[in-house]
Assembly symmetry: C2
Homo-oligomer: 515 residues x 2
């Protein structure tokens, strides 16, 4: 269904001519370091352990092949791609184990506890913050717990408008199964094609249509999880006052507290109509004010996105992505409407009136169509950019509206100071009544250490501005050094206490999330 | 501002003649057991401990008077009222301590840890599930930590549309302070007049306008709390992927994990227009189907409530509560719209069309006005009913739409079987896309033990129907025996682990929430 994947040299999108020209303009002559072919370290596990795992999940589902292990090594951040290119496969798992059902997951965890194996739950493998690169120090080996065989639509409840999904379903697979019932989840992050339902839950993913469908964690009404010390089944009602909402403790737990074995999500009818449009605002600040007005007065479109001046200029430099209606300059906003024809028309009328009042210039449907056509493509370009020696990476944050301006300025300044000559682009990708996210794309002729220093400076700037260190990319290992500055030492102690209770021997994704 | 309080004989509403006639009709001749005047057990604390507390918060704010301690004894459930009437004041605190600010709260907790005193955070005192009656066994004494002096509006952020409130503010006080800025919280539970902001957060309260404004836990974007082992400050953005949402662990924690010292909530402009209307549906099931359609297709009114046949008949038997437009029979639905005049008109048009399509008969504004006028009054009647020997109590649940019918039938049957001759009324008070709540009112000539047995049977029925044991009344001590059946033993272990980490000596509301 999706033969090519990010970080797979065979699947890299060829760099379009306009982009190549842009790269040459911005960064000068290009070179192309070839990926190094290196073989993996031999699996560290002895035959007795492998035999136990085979008993748990079946011979065919305990895999030690280099090719498979290589595909389960780390995630898809640009540093991950660079290390793969450099032949650094030190984080490869020793074995890939493919359970089916909560019972097999529990059996694998029991074996892992007995032999002190680190277990890395693996869904789509699109992690971009180091969530798939656990500490292996002190462990007898690393098991990649590949959940791809757990790919069923377990139940549809058309009255409650919920569906129970297994964690290994990829975005398009889940949508195809729901479509047979006339339903959609409406969750379309940029990683949609390759990411899994379990991953969406474990990382608090947020999709491009979040203004209309909500964040993934807001869609989850129930979940089940297997931990090394017991199972969890949470959620018997949309909302409850029966103590703290423990669903919210598993959502965002990144495999460190348990393995999510199913989620029950709110679903909606497949929209009858979809319309995407472009708008132009004179400045990023004016566009943000208009977004805030929409979020606070309503109604919101289903998709709402605003590029800053730099990102607008860059996307307009690519003829494939430019609508005739959106003339150069200013900032491009995308508004999308999905629903019944009547709903779409009503919302479009209302939003059009408000945006026009607030200084927006309508750009028609062409920019909207261009955005929709390219909405999942950006990550594929990273490989082609690396081929020509340009590192492209993203980072994101969110805060309350009153702090957005300062956060934007400070993060941009930090990136600019750390990476002179870099292109720094930004868009607002998710809005709420009380605030919004900021999603930065950075392109620079830089080494991995230089990138890491720049990212550290940007994250320091977020913390100083009292913005979150990540709005939808999770903590992983990359953001962990900053987590205590966001949730405090007491918050970290709570995470450690929950971890110690559910996973007392620390086999689950060690070193990820919990400082 | 609110001189009369529930459970205060002086503040009891006189039983209106129609209600008295109804009571006689339903339960026969009335009698009036007089409340017994009993004095409190002497405070168990020695002078040295009191002196430490005085140093922490000031002499005037360490109170051992009987009158004050009596008012801080238990909450306002009907069993609480009955025990107070019976002269059972065994749960009275030894001392009432009134701190100001997180620093004083921390100082009091430190003293409590040193002397092993149980600490009961106290806001408005309207708990109805035993959350203010902790275990005193093994403790040197019980401190009622009265938060009423922490009653400030700390900050308004008109750009982000948030406000930071202290926990001791009562509902009307918070609304009055916000009104000075043209803002409202929109949180109006039946306890609104007497309940506190901290209580709303600690119990996951939900208000009568939840369809429009959301539950209280959905309004909270940030909070601070003091625990015996450190402080928490959570929430730097509307949403985040920086690990599990720890705000959701404090919301609903009922004072057992920490003392909430501030909440930052999403606020809205004071609505320009408010319209409340009545509708009649032939059956409760038809009305619920219409509510579900509204919740799933939108737009929702701000207030949406549906009484079953019995509750409709009873309210229509009271001339004060009946609109001329709603003729007898069927089920009364209340729809309320709040917002700009244009928004109200647009929503009203859209909802009217949908409800008419679904078989609703419009009853005009009179039933809506009657509902709005009486919306906070029901609890006052309990005292008058007790005076005539009739116990009135409420219980509530929620589940997904597909299980609502069965849950309604089973809970009603359980109550009917336990309390022959009881009046059992029900309404849907809160709706979501995936489900709704059911709020039962029971009136019976019954003793407290008979009521407890009936409530246990009803709660068993909820668990068996896979509905939550409480949608918005919290766990307290009353629901604790059922919590493990809702969140599982593993879920209970998580709560215990968090409790042990934050409150290792177990001084915070011991015996409440955590089994």
């Amino acid at each position: 269904m999706h033969p090519t994947r990010w970080g797979d040299p065979a699947g890299a999108a060829p760099l379009p001519e306009p982009a190549r020209a842009l790269v040459e303009l911005a960064f000068g002559v290009t070179d192309s370091p070839a990926a190094t072919a290196v073989s993996l370290p031999a699996p560290a596990l002895d035959e007795a352990v492998l035999a136990e795992l085979r008993t748990a999940v079946g011979d065919a589902h305990v895999v030690t092949d280099d090719a498979i292990r290589r595909l389960r090594t780390r995630g898809k951040s640009t540093p991950d791609l660079l290390r793969a290119r450099a032949g650094d496969l030190t984080d490869a798992p020793d074995v890939v184990v493919r359970p089916v059902g909560a019972h097999e997951v529990a059996a694998v965890l029991a074996i892992a506890v007995r032999h002190h194996l680190a277990v890395v739950p693996f869904g789509g493998g699109t992690a971009v913050t180091g969530g798939l690169a656990p500490d292996r120090e002190g462990y007898a080996g690393v098991v990649s717990l590949d959940l791809r065989r757990m790919n069923h639509l377990v139940e549809v409840d058309p009255v409650s408008m919920t569906a129970t999904l297994e964690p290994g379903l990829l975005g398009p697979e889940a949508e195809a199964l729901l479509a047979e019932h006339g339903l959609t989840l409406g969750h379309f992050p940029q990683s949609f094609e390759h990411a899994s339902i379990g991953g969406f839950a474990a990382t608090r993913s947020s999709g491009q249509a979040s203004a209309g469908y909500g964040r993934f964690d807001a869609m989850v009404v129930a979940l089940t999880a297997v931990t090394p010390t017991g199972r969890l089944s949470l959620g018997v009602a949309p909302a409850s006052a029966a103590g703290p909402d423990l669903r919210q403790l598993l959502l965002g737990s990144e495999g460190a507290f348990g393995v999510i074995t199913s989620v029950t999500v709110r679903v909606r009818p497949i929209p009858e109509a979809k319309v995407y449009e472009g708008w132009r605002f004179a400045t990023f600040a004016e566009g943000r004010d208009a977004m805030r007005e929409l979020a606070q007065s309503g109604p919101l479109p289903t998709v709402l996105r605003l590029s800053d001046e730099s990102e607008t200029a860059l996307s307009l430099a690519d003829p494939d992505a430019v609508g005739g209606g959106a003339s150069a300059g200013g900032c491009l906003m995308i508004t999308g409407y999905e629903g019944s024809a009547a709903d779409v028309a009503a919302k479009q009328t209302s939003v059009t009136a408000l945006l026009t009042d607030l200084g927006g210039v309508p750009g028609g449907e062409e920019p909207g169509r261009a955005w929709a056509a390219g909405r999942f493509k950006a990550p594929y370009l990273r490989d082609s950019m690396l081929d020509v020696g340009v590192l492209v990476e993203t980072l994101e944050t969110a805060t309350f509206w009153s702090r957005v301006e300062q956060t934007y300025a400070d993060v941009k300044a930090a990136l600019g100071a750390s990476l002179p000559g870099a292109l720094v682009l930004c868009h607002v990708s998710h809005v709420y009544e009380t605030g919004c996210s900021l999603y930065f794309t950075v392109a620079a002729r830089a080494t991995e250490p230089a990138w890491r220093a720049a990212k550290a400076a940007a994250t320091d700037a977020m913390v100083a501005a009292r913005a979150t260190i990540t709005h939808h990319h999770a903590v992983g290992t990359d953001h962990k050094p900053w987590l205590a500055r966001e949730i405090g030492e007491t918050g970290v102690r709570v995470l450690r206490a929950v971890k110690a209770e559910l996973d007392p021997t620390g086999i689950l994704n060690p070193g990820v999330l919990v400082p």
